[in-house]
């Protein structure tokens, strides 16, 4: 049904400002002040979406963030957003939206066939049906289910919008600007306290935007206006509209999402689309109100079904009439206001009251208005596929457990339901607040919570307006005082006309009907968004999932974008009835942030693209870019990976770079290596304690390689130590380990050995380093330095200071390639000048720049480990075959005691070995698992988790193949003319010559265990 359902007057919309929009391609008109939801209702559109599992036609249930059904795909292209609640979209001119989860259209949807299959699609259906066969699940079931499930489509283009974050502190944060929140903020602001007031709606006022009341003789809208204007006058008050507090965390830290641009206006850094607020408040007041509950009965999801509070909001706030002939089903007094308002707009209204008796004043008033009230009655069914057509009603039997007599159908075009209100305690519970169930109010209430946190109004299950205003004022004054402000004079309580604080709610969840839900063809929906019905909860209980958390996961109650705001309490109340427990005993599931969904762009803020993470580059970086280097990320550093020329593949480039290193001369930008200056008269003693070998005996001008262990004896980092002067050492670390090694050293200095006179300074970015390596390295260097390079004088593992290319330099004779090498360090900003001088000087030698990949190959040929590649925090120096570096003389060093633990001396520990594939042309992938026998991977059964008795389930056998270890490094060696690898093998050091196997997807590779030094075992090449 379409056509104008816009009321001729009233509401907070601006009828002078019409807005055009399209829904599912069809054009409509609404007004400024509308939401997409209210504009659709004013246009008579109720069929908005299809449900997730059964693809049932669905309409709008609510007018707020608790909406489970009315989700749309908003906007198009890069700005498209899936699953946005129509109730939370302020209408703008040119808005485009469409239904989600439909094909080909919301009216005729193919997926609706699921509804016919629904008897077979109960809770746990997917697991039971598709999991027994892994292959069927992987190849057939999962792809289809993934396609059919879910809602809207994620955008495929980059998000064009700008988002930002703001961090603020305040004395008092008030969440929710209804009567309680406004009143609390006003009382606190009057003391001079810094107050932030946030509300998810575009307008402040909360329930007073819907409820027409007189407060102290003034219309409620006027009261709201005067409070807001008073608040605006305080310099220390921040008012945030369209801002949802999505999470409350420890220490009163709140995160809020502000929607700053709702239409298609382009965003900019000065005007972001959304802003995430990080708020630290001394005091917090939660005035988040309450959520109305629906009732559970047969086919309670027909489009046209709506909460009583939502219907009232559409009429009073938006001037839109949801229907002409509503049946109002209620268990409380409050819904009568909706019935009365419908009647005032000329609708034909019937009330079905599930309570035994209707309060006399209401009964009399309804009779006077000509509204039929059926007391002590229940709903047994709803007809109408795309829109409510009729509601079947029956009288309840004497004990209320079933029906008396037969149902009769009432013609209707709308079904208005109210099951009472639940306090919105979500934020209270985010920080571990405990709830108690109040049987009189039929709601959970905050019981015990954190300090400096108060709940007022609906959040405290206080449903009267006067109580909310007075309670808010008291809480606001108290919070200001607690934050150190002097409270002003206490105001007297407000007078509110027609303030029905007690709705005389009579608990009702699953309404009695002739048929139990699991015997009925109809669906008794509890969680609309997840298509969970009362029968699913009963099934969960029958199958043993009767704890509330298990029931949630088995039936999906409370998942999704509404997080069960509508259905959770009904679900757990039904669970309580089925298990014979009270609601208090049953308890709620855990409330977790965010309260409503937050778009990823907002969370990322400015930390996107190049700003995602700091990018560190060396002083030579521009040269690498200009010379076509491919880069590798090492921590935050960009390091040249290899330098392809003339369209070379990586394999070709690396082979060429390796050949140059073994036959001519090469250069590496080694600036990223971590460097720590260790100074002080106890520096030598300190280094003796943190390295496995002796450092205090090092002569000035000498360099020593060292290993650092953690206290557990496992290798943690490696590098060199150079004694620059008697009390001054330079320590190098791995590129990725620099920061953590520095912190590790500081830890011991500050907390274990504060008596040592040692100072640590990170100098990584003070020195740029160029490594010149290869047989012609000396010939090259001679051209740019006056230093004596005679190897008899400038020996391996020593260092010199002097000038290179006219620049003050430190030159170290260290080799990670096995070739004659000089590591030349200059002041950081001289790095590029040094590099270019080296390149110029080496031009006629064919100098070749090389990257990290070639570095890895060259060092692996020499059997040098890379910490973090060969090691993973579970290897001792002995496991690596590096017992030679562990001092026997030193009484103690970090990790020493652990090297004699029973576990670290086991002979079957994984140990580093060299591996040569029997097929010398094949490079085994790194990470390949190693086993003893030549098994084929396809014959190895999939891993299957064991059942309760320990036996594998689903008839499959668990893997019987014992793992020996894995390949840690694997390359093609240009120097060896074959492939080779390093790996870890259990007890491998005693297995030289044995064959082990790497089963791969399509073949199994035999590999021979060999010594891990593949090239120049004698070390003859290091002096050139």
């Amino acid at each position: 049904m379409t056509g104008s359902m816009r009321l001729p007057g009233g509401g907070r919309i601006d009828r002078s400002r019409p807005l055009k929009f399209t829904f599912n391609g069809k054009g409509y008109t609404g007004y400024e002040g509308d939401t997409l939801a209210s504009a659709l209702i004013a246009n008579g559109v109720h069929l908005i979406a299809r449900s997730m599992k059964y693809h049932r036609p669905r309409g709008l249930m609510t007018a707020g963030s608790d909406e489970p059904n009315g989700m749309v795909q908003l906007a198009t292209g890069a700005r498209t957003e899936p699953n946005i609640k129509a109730t939370q979209i302020p209408l703008y001119d040119g808005l485009e939206a469409s239904s989600v989860n439909v094909f080909p259209s919301v009216e005729t949807d193919i997926g609706a066939v699921n509804g016919l299959l629904s008897p077979f699609m109960t809770a746990g259906f997917y697991y039971k049906t598709f999991m027994p066969s892994q292959l069927f699940w992987d190849k057939v079931a999962e792809p289809i289910i993934r396609k059919a499930a879910g809602f809207g489509k994620a955008p495929t283009e980059p998000d064009p919008d700008v988002y930002d974050h703001k961090h603020v502190h305040c004395d008092l944060m008030v969440v929710g600007a209804g009567p309680a929140g406004l009143s609390a903020a006003r009382a606190a602001a009057a003391t001079g306290a810094r107050v932030i007031l946030a509300d998810e709606q575009a307008e402040f006022g909360g329930s007073l935007l819907t409820l027409h009341r007189e407060i102290d003789g003034k219309p409620s809208a006027e009261w709201v206006g005067s409070v807001v204007s008073e608040l605006s006058g305080h310099d220390e008050v921040t008012l945030l509209r369209r801002t949802t507090v999505t999470g409350l965390y420890d220490q009163n830290y709140l995160v809020a999402l502000e929607q700053k641009i709702d239409d298609l206006t382009p965003s900019s850094p000065a005007n972001p689309r959304m802003r995430v607020w990080h708020i630290r408040a001394k005091e917090v007041i939660l005035a988040t109100g309450s959520h109305e509950r629906p009732l559970v009965f047969a086919d309670n999801d027909r489009p046209g079904t709506m909460l009583a509070s939502a219907a009232l909001t559409y009429m009073n706030r938006y001037g839109a009439l949801p229907c002409n002939k509503p049946v109002v089903v209620t268990n409380n007094d409050w819904a009568y206001e909706t019935a009365r308002t419908f009647k005032a707009h000329g609708a034909e209204v019937t009330v079905v009251d599930t309570r035994k008796t209707v309060p006399e004043d209401l009964g009399t008033e309804m009779a006077h208005l000509g509204i039929e009230v059926l007391a002590d009655s229940t709903v047994t069914g709803v007809s109408g596929k795309h829109r409510v057509k009729g509601v079947s009603v029956a009288a309840k039997n004497a004990d209320g457990s079933g029906i008396a007599g037969v149902s009769h159908s009432i013609d209707a075009d709308g079904l208005i339901v109210s099951g009472g209100y639940s306090a919105a305690v979500h934020l209270f519970c985010h920080v571990g607040g405990k709830l108690s169930f109040d049987d009189a109010r039929v709601s959970f209430m905050p019981a015990t919570g954190r300090k400096a946190l108060a709940c007022v109004g609906g959040t405290a299950a206080e449903f009267g307006i006067a109580a909310a205003i007075d309670g808010g004022a008291a809480a606001g004054a108290k919070a200001a005082q607690a934050a150190g402000f002097k409270p002003g004079r206490a105001g007297k309580g407000v007078q509110v006309a027609d303030d029905r604080a007690d709705g005389n709610v009579e608990a009702a969840w699953l309404l009695p009907s002739g048929t139990a839900p699991n015997r009925s063809k109809a669906k008794f929906f509890v969680d609309y968004q997840n298509d969970t019905g009362a029968a699913d909860i009963a099934l969960a209980v029958r199958e043993g999932f009767d704890s509330v958390e298990h029931m949630k996961r088995y039936t999906l109650t409370g998942f999704g974008t509404d997080q069960g705001k509508l259905g959770n309490i009904n679900g757990l109340a039904i669970l309580a009835e089925l298990t014979g427990r009270t609601i208090q005993e049953t308890g709620t599931t855990t409330f977790r942030p965010p309260y409503t969904p937050v778009t990823f762009g907002a969370l990322a803020g400015r930390d996107a693209g190049d700003m995602l993470d700091p990018i560190r580059v060396t002083n030579i970086h521009d040269w690498h870019v200009a010379h076509g280097a491919e880069f590798e990320n090492v921590g935050q550093w960009k390091r040249p990976w290899y330098y392809p020329i003339d369209g070379e593949t990586m394999h070709q480039a690396v082979a060429r770079e390796c050949r140059a290193a073994r036959t001519a001369v090469t250069a590496l930008d080694a600036s990223t290596l971590g460097k720590i200056d260790v100074t002080g008269k106890d520096a030598g003693v300190f280094l003796d304690r943190v390295y496995t070998n002796m450092m205090s005996t090092l002569k000035v001008g000498s360099v020593r390689y060292g290993l650092m262990l953690h206290e557990d004896g496992m290798v943690y980092d490696d590098g060199t130590v150079t004694r620059l002067a008697e009390n001054r050492f330079l320590v190098t670390t791995t590129t990725g380990g620099a920061a953590s090694v520095f912190q590790h050293l500081e830890d011991y200095l500050q907390t274990e050995w504060p008596d040592l006179d040692v100072y640590l300074t990170s100098v990584t970015e003070q020195w740029a380093t160029v490594t010149v390596s290869g047989p012609k390295a000396r010939m090259l260097l001679e051209r740019i330095t006056d230093m004596n390079l005679d190897p008899a004088d400038f020996q391996f593992m020593t260092f010199r200071e002097g000038k290179v290319a006219g620049l003050p330099a430190r030159v170290f004779r260290i080799s990670f390639t096995g070739e004659l090498s000089y590591e030349i360090s200059v002041v950081w900003h001289h790095g590029k000048a040094l590099w270019e001088a080296v390149m110029d000087a080496g031009h006629d030698f064919g100098i070749t720049p090389y990257g990290t990949e070639t570095m890895h190959v060259l060092r692996a040929e020499k059997g040098f480990i890379i910490v973090g590649q060969e090691t993973d925090g579970t290897l001792t120096p002995y496991d690596l075959g590096m017992g030679w570096i562990v001092s026997k003389k030193k009484e103690d060093f970090i990790g020493k005691r652990s090297l004699t633990r029973p576990d670290t001396v086991r002979e079957d520990r994984k140990q580093l070995v060299g591996l040569l594939p029997e097929d010398p042309g094949f490079v085994v992938p790194e990470g390949a698992q190693l086993v003893n026998n030549s098994v084929k991977l396809k014959d190895v059964p999939h891993f299957a988790p064991p059942g309760l008795d320990g036996a594998p389930i689903y008839g499959r056998k668990a893997s019987p193949v014992p793992m020996l270890g894995h390949v840690t490094s694997s390359y093609w060696s240009d120097a060896l003319g074959r492939s080779f690898a390093l790996g870890l093998v259990k007890g491998g050091q005693a297995r030289t010559g044995d064959i082990v196997y790497a089963p791969l997807d399509d073949r199994t590779i035999a590999m021979r265990i060999v010594d891990p030094v593949f090239y120049d075992k004698e070390g003859a090449r290091r002096d050139g």
Binding site: E711, E746, Q750, T751, P754, D892, K896
Partner: protein
Amino acid sequence: MLLIPCPYCGERPEIEFSYGGEAHIARPQNPASLSDTQWAEFLFMRGNQKGAFRERWIHTHGCRRWFNMLRDTTSHEIYAVYKIGAPKPPAPGEKPAAAKKPATRARKGASK
């Protein structure tokens, strides 16, 4: 995310800090003299208390100094922060420790 009162810098957001595990676990003076069991006790065993807990933090992106914190592991309430080597402040409901002779060497575990 906590707001942590660094004893040297004042209140700073948690992202500036790194966690260092349980406090007051002193590295043994002479590890070689310990049995495997005693060494394992030092190396692996931690209290993992519920409630008031003494732990180490470092202001990594600030003064880079280590300090101790007394924090409730359920509510995350920070009861106290104190410098390395300083006496332990009492946990809520706990009697203040009797004044002891200051340790000759300030260590991670002035006393356990």
